[in-house]
Symmetry: C2
Subunit: 207 residues, 2 copies
Amino acid sequence: MAMSLDGFVAGPNQNQENPLGEGGLKLHEWAFSTKTFAAMTGSADGETGVDDDVLREQFNNVGASIMGRNMFGPIRGDWGDHSWTGWWGDNPPFHHPVFVLTHHARDPIPLKGGTTFYFVTDGLDSAVAQARKAAGTKDISVGGGASVVRQCLSAGLLDEMQIHLVPLFLGGGERIFEGFDAKKLHLKPIRVLEGKGVTHLKYQFQK
Amino acid sequence: MAMSLDGFVAGPNQNQENPLGEGGLKLHEWAFSTKTFAAMTGSADGETGVDDDVLREQFNNVGASIMGRNMFGPIRGDWGDHSWTGWWGDNPPFHHPVFVLTHHARDPIPLKGGTTFYFVTDGLDSAVAQARKAAGTKDISVGGGASVVRQCLSAGLLDEMQIHLVPLFLGGGERIFEGFDAKKLHLKPIRVLEGKGVTHLKYQFQK
């Protein structure tokens, strides 16, 4: 999760036109400049280095992903004519099954490069079970948003967590670390890496 | 400032017996084990290393400090019989004048090693003016607590800021980064250092 120094993963006044809220896009600028991100858009541009290594690593050894609906696309409520296939482009960076939590059923969307979006309407436990089956011996990644991460934190489901800490103040918006049962969680730092205007903090949850 | 991963500088249910709130003391464990901290208590024990370097550095080239009353001691309201001289011990680590913001006047307290606590009853601007005069060409350090730091952030008074980010969740308590005008502040990372169970993040404010 990319997070501002004042603890927000999205800025104030989120809406369909501005899904990350005011200033929220700035949390991801470090990623946009990388070779790994450029490759997602079919470009050979982008910079290598710490940030690129970190972003690429996030997709390493991952066999399935889970995400909230807002991370798939901005549409709320009914899916409409089903023409929108999410903001991850034609060739999403996952290259594995992605389970999208939603209250609105939809057929799976297979895309280039091995990514298929599946829509799970019966809750987090079901998404985890399906992801575990799909991932085999590989890892499951939780992409976000904040609500899904909080559900995972509360359920003690996470083994590792990475925070991309961006040195800016959003002054409001959506926090990730509130509204979950924090007391039972114990973290151990794994590593810290300094990128360009971002600090990558990786932690392990002690079981 | 020492801060939990969920953004708190003190835990829930702060009171006179538990001034840092539930779990709040854990934010400072990295400091307690250092040689610099041990020396504050007159001991020659304590560990050297990153955390010790960081703590010692905080007192380097500092000619005056400003702090809120709660950082001086737990007494609220009137000072009583004036026998309590704060929880920094007989030989506080400052070795320079310390200006304590309070609504209750009190005579200065000179202690060993060059530390004198002055009690400022006419607000932050006055404390800054007095500290600047006392510091001469040296730096002024703002020790906290959260309220004083927020006042300084709002007034754009800070040149540098260091966060000691501790990988634990307090689940409630006092936040430092809320209730100030965040939008005009721009930070530039200076350095990140990984200590024992703490990440030391140093930033510069862009003027």
